[in-house]
Symmetry: none
Subunit: 291 residues, 2 copies
DNA sequence: AGAATGTCGAAACAACTGTTTCAAAATTAT
DNA sequence: ATAATTTTGAAACAGTTGTTTCGACATTCT
C-alpha cells in the first residue's frame, strides 16, 4: 500500500490551524475514536454538538475526500487492534520480563478499583447517600474535614459544593491552627468527616469536638466501627482496597462527587442558577482559558 | 433485560429451527460477526445474498426486538465492553420521573465511573503510564500542578509521592503567589500537570513556563489536544464523563494512585524502606491514633 | 469607515436506512 | 389434487444518512 498516513496524527498536528468549530469536532473525534467507527456522521455531529456540515468541512480540511473514507480508516483500526483481553493474554504468556509485571499490576489495580466503586454504589449505600443529602440540605453550615490521604476527597467535595452553596467550610488548617475553622460549630450544623485507617488524630478530634457541640456528623470512612463513624448520623462506608501500599481513595472521591451530583439534582434549577453565577464570577477573575 | 444473553449462542442453538433463508443469513452473521457491528443491515443482507426482510425476520425469530439492539450487542463485543454502560445510562435517564429519580441517578453515575476507570486502564494508557514512570524516576525534581477541581488529584499524588521520595513539590500557591514553587525549574526536572476542560489559566501558564525552561511535562488531562498536553513528553488522557454538572476526576485520581503504586513496585525494597521511615516520623509527631 | 475574507448553521438534496406489507411461490397436510 | 400453511422477495414506507448550497454573521484588512 502507499503512504498510509495515520489520520489521528494528522488531526492532532493540524489541530491548531483549524477553525474553532472544527477544533471542537476534531477534539471530539480524538477523544471518542470508536464513535467514528460505529456511529453515523450525523450522530457523531450531534454528540460533538456541531452541525453536520462542520464534519464535512473538517474532512476536506485534513485532506480526506469523504466521510466514508475516514470512517473506513477508523473501522480498520478497530479491527486491527485485537480485543484487548486476548492481546494481553498473549503478552502474559511471553517470558516474564519487568514490563509485563507492571502491566499485571496495573490490570489488577483496575479490577480492584472497579470493585471498590461498585461496592460504593450498593443499594444500602445509595439509601444512605440520600439520607446524607437530606441532612446536608437541612444544615446551617456544612464543615468538611479530611487529613492526609483523605484530604483530596474532602477538598473535592468542598470545591464543588462551594460552587452552588455558600455555607460550606473546608477545615484544612490553612488559616492558622487546624480546627480553627470549627469555632462556632453548633446544633444546627453538620460535619462531614473523611478518613480511613490509619486514622489521623486531627480528624478524630474534629469529630469528637463536633459531637460535643451537638453537631451532626456524616462519616465517609472504611468501617462501621471506625472512630470517625462513632455516633455519626450517617455512615458512608466505602472500601479502600488497594494493590499498593497505600489505601485507595478512589471510591471515597467518587462518592463525594455523587453526593454533589445528588444535591444539584435535588436543588433543581435554583442550584444550576447558582452554579452559573459562580462560573460567571470565575470568568471575571479570568480564571479559565477561553477557546 | 437483566439477563445478559449471548446473542451468538442463541443464534447457534436456534439454528436448526430456522427456515432455509434465515439459516443462510444466520450463517453469514456467525461467520462475519464484525460485519454486524460495522456495516448496515442492508449491506449485510447484500453480502449474505439475502433480502433485507430475511434479516428482520431472523431478528424476531431469535427474540430480538430490533436490528439496532442486535447491532449494539455486536458493537459492544467489538469494543470489548461486556455491556454498554453509557447507553443504559441514557435509557435510565429517560424513564426517571418518580421519587426514585435519585436512585436512578446514582446508578448511572456508578456505571459512568466504572466506564471511566476501565478506559483509564486500557492497553495504550498502561504503556504510557510505564513511560511516565521512567520519566519520573529520571527526574531531578518532580513538580505537580493542578488547580480547581484538578487539585485533589494533584494533591493525592504529591502526598503519596512524598512518602517515599523527597524530590516532589506540589505547586499549590499556598506559599505566596501561585507558581512561586516553580522557581529554578530546569532541564533535568519534570512537571506533572493535571487539568480538564475548562482549563484553568494558572495550570496552562505553569506548563508553558516549564516548557520554556526545557522542563519535561507529563500531562494528565482529558484530550490529546488539551492545552495542557501541548508538547508533553507523555499524555495521560483520561475520561471525565459525568452525569452531573461537574466533571468527574475519579479516573484521574485512580491513575495518580496507580502511578504511585507502579513507582513503589519498581522502586523495590528501597522504596518500602523509605515509606517505613516516613511513617515512623509521622508516629513521632503523634499523627495517628493507635488502636 | 467600507470592503474582503473567513466562518458558520439552517435548509435542501438524493441516496440509503430499517421496517412493514402483500401477493406470489414453495411446502406441507389432507 | 386440493386446501392450508409456511416461506419468500419485491415494493412501499417513513425516517435518516452524507453532502452541497446559500445567506447571515464575524473578523481582518485596507
Amino acid at each position: 500500500m502507499g503512504v498510509q498516513t495515520d489520520l489521528r496524527e494528522k488531526l492532532i498536528s493540524d489541530y491548531a490551524k483549524l477553525s474553532p468549530q472544527m477544533q471542537k469536532a476534531a477534539r471530539y473525534i480524538l477523544d471518542h475514536p470508536s464513535d467514528v467507527a460505529l456511529r453515523s456522521m450525523r450522530a457523531l455531529a450531534r454528540a460533538a454538538d456541531v452541525p453536520p456540515s462542520t464534519i464535512t468541512r473538517l474532512m476536506s480540511a485534513i485532506g480526506v475526500e469523504t466521510w466514508q473514507e475516514f470512517r473506513d480508516h477508523y473501522q480498520n483500526r478497530l479491527l486491527d487492534q485485537p480485543a484487548s483481553y486476548a492481546q494481553r493474554a498473549r503478552e502474559t504468556q511471553r517470558t516474564e520480563n519487568d514490563a509485563n509485571r507492571d502491566e499485571h499490576l496495573l490490570e489488577s489495580i483496575c479490577r480492584t478499583e472497579i470493585d471498590n466503586i461498585s461496592a460504593a454504589f450498593s443499594p444500602e449505600l445509595v439509601s444512605r447517600l440520600i439520607e446524607a443529602c437530606e441532612a446536608i440540605e437541612d444544615a446551617r453550615q456544612v464543615f468538611i474535614v479530611g487529613r492526609g490521604a483523605a484530604y483530596p476527597a474532602a477538598c473535592q467535595f468542598a470545591y464543588a459544593y462551594r460552587l452552588f452553596c455558600d455555607n460550606g467550610v473546608l477545615v484544612d488548617g490553612h488559616s492558622g491552627t487546624f480546627g480553627d475553622e470549627l469555632r462556632g460549630i453548633g446544633r444546627r450544623d453538620l460535619l462531614i468527616a473523611v478518613g480511613a485507617k490509619p486514622y489521623i488524630r486531627d480528624t478524630v478530634r474534629a469529630v469528637e469536638f463536633a459531637r460535643s457541640q451537638h453537631c451532626l456528623v456524616i462519616a465517609l470512612t472504611d468501617s462501621d466501627v471506625s472512630p470517625i463513624a462513632m455516633d455519626a448520623l450517617c455512615k458512608l462506608v466505602v472500601r479502600d482496597t488497594s494493590q499498593s501500599f497505600f489505601q485507595s481513595f478512589t471510591a471515597a472521591l467518587s462518592v463525594m462527587q455523587a453526593l454533589v451530583a445528588l444535591l444539584v439534582a435535588r436543588g433543581g434549577p435554583k442550584a444550576l442558577q447558582r452554579i452559573a453565577a459562580a462560573e460567571e464570577q470565575l470568568a471575571v477573575f479570568d480564571t479559565y482559558l477561553e477557546d
